[in-house]
Symmetry: C2
Subunit: 214 residues, 2 copies
């Protein structure tokens, strides 16, 4: 059952909201809240009640009439649906200021994400440690990735190097990439790329500000 639920294809919009729901539920649990109605949870999340219930129904997570959702049950259900009920070894590629910030980020453990590899090409950086992880040369990627079981890679290199880095990661067997460089990456079928585009977010923000504030 669990395997089936996990492998259902969720609408991307639903999927995008799950980490937000999960964070709110964690916070409620830490505040000692045991149950929550969909109405109250939706209100706290700033989403529609119907949307919340629809999103959760994709995961087969149902509230009990008159009692609402169990907070812990819901949090665990979302964690399982996302696949975060097991460890995810992670590589950071690029050890400039952004890559270093990403390697030092403290929020991963909470989500079962573990930085097990950091790559760069600069001889001055290779061999140094960021937290407890030694920076490796990108040419060592196939070995280091195999040894540390990396499954996700974060690309934090200049735009001009991003495609080269993506190719190297794919060759080393990594099939899921989070790309901070503002370029569209070409990857083989079966490789997943998500884009973190700071500039795009600022463009959206600028537009919303005009609409809201005139």
């Amino acid at each position: 059952m669990e395997g089936i639920a996990r492998q259902r294809i969720l609408p991307l919009e639903t999927l995008s909201r799950l980490p937000v729901y999960r964070q709110k539920l964690r916070q409620l649990r830490e505040d000692g809240v045991d149950t929550v109605s969909s109405l109250e949870l939706a209100k706290q999340l700033g989403v529609g009640d119907a949307q919340l219930r629809r999103d959760l129904s994709y995961l087969r997570l149902l509230g009990r009439p008159g009692r609402g959702y169990g907070v812990r049950h819901l949090e665990e259900g979302i964690t399982r649906a996302l696949g975060l009920d097991r460890r995810w070894p992670l590589a950071i590629v690029g050890c400039g200021s952004l890559g270093t910030a990403l390697a030092r980020y403290e929020g991963y453990a909470r989500d079962n994400l573990v930085v097990t590899a950091i790559f760069d090409i600069d001889p001055a950086k290779v061999g140094k440690k960021v937290r407890s992880v030694t920076v490796s040369h990108i040419d060592e990627a196939p070995r280091v990735i195999a040894e540390t079981g990396v499954e996700l890679a974060v690309i934090a290199v200049p735009s001009s190097a991003a495609q080269h880095v993506a190719d190297a990661m794919v060759r080393a067997g990594v099939t899921a990439l989070l790309n901070f460089a503002p370029v569209a990456l070409a990857v083989p079928a079966g490789v997943i790329v998500r884009q973190m585009d700071i500039s795009a977010e600022l463009q959206i923000l600028a537009h919303l500000k005009i609409v809201e504030n005139g």
Copy 2:
């Protein structure tokens, strides 16, 4: 007409795609391409043809039957719709490794975004320069923001300080925030917050990897 088109409320999903369209159009223009069919553009963008045409129709950008879209016309139309046909002064709050990386980012100019202020609370950082911008103490925010015309602020501080910083920005008159701290910010009505959540992106990536690769 232009003002009307700009102030129409776009569906958020359409809005989220516009920066990606814009980047592809810029690239085509730089490659010397003058016109492009919606079919070809959709293919290059990896989106559906119908969706692309619908998105562009919101901006009243129409192709010519048999000739397709003018690349430059389309790029300029999207730039105008986003509101990027004028300068957007930007503040970075937090001058740790992430904030420094954000302050040094070279892609802003292309989008008419200009970092005009950087804030921190650390006396060791205040007064230093990142690129050509001097780091100010956050207590100086009202003056610096007024003087440099800041309209957008990027929050790159630890979670524990994010709400405090958001409050300070709002008090100083900034009504559009891009938040990198993994916490939900409480802001008054009329203030826009967009969340950059690295951990959420990695959670989505982990899920997609399970669905794709088993």
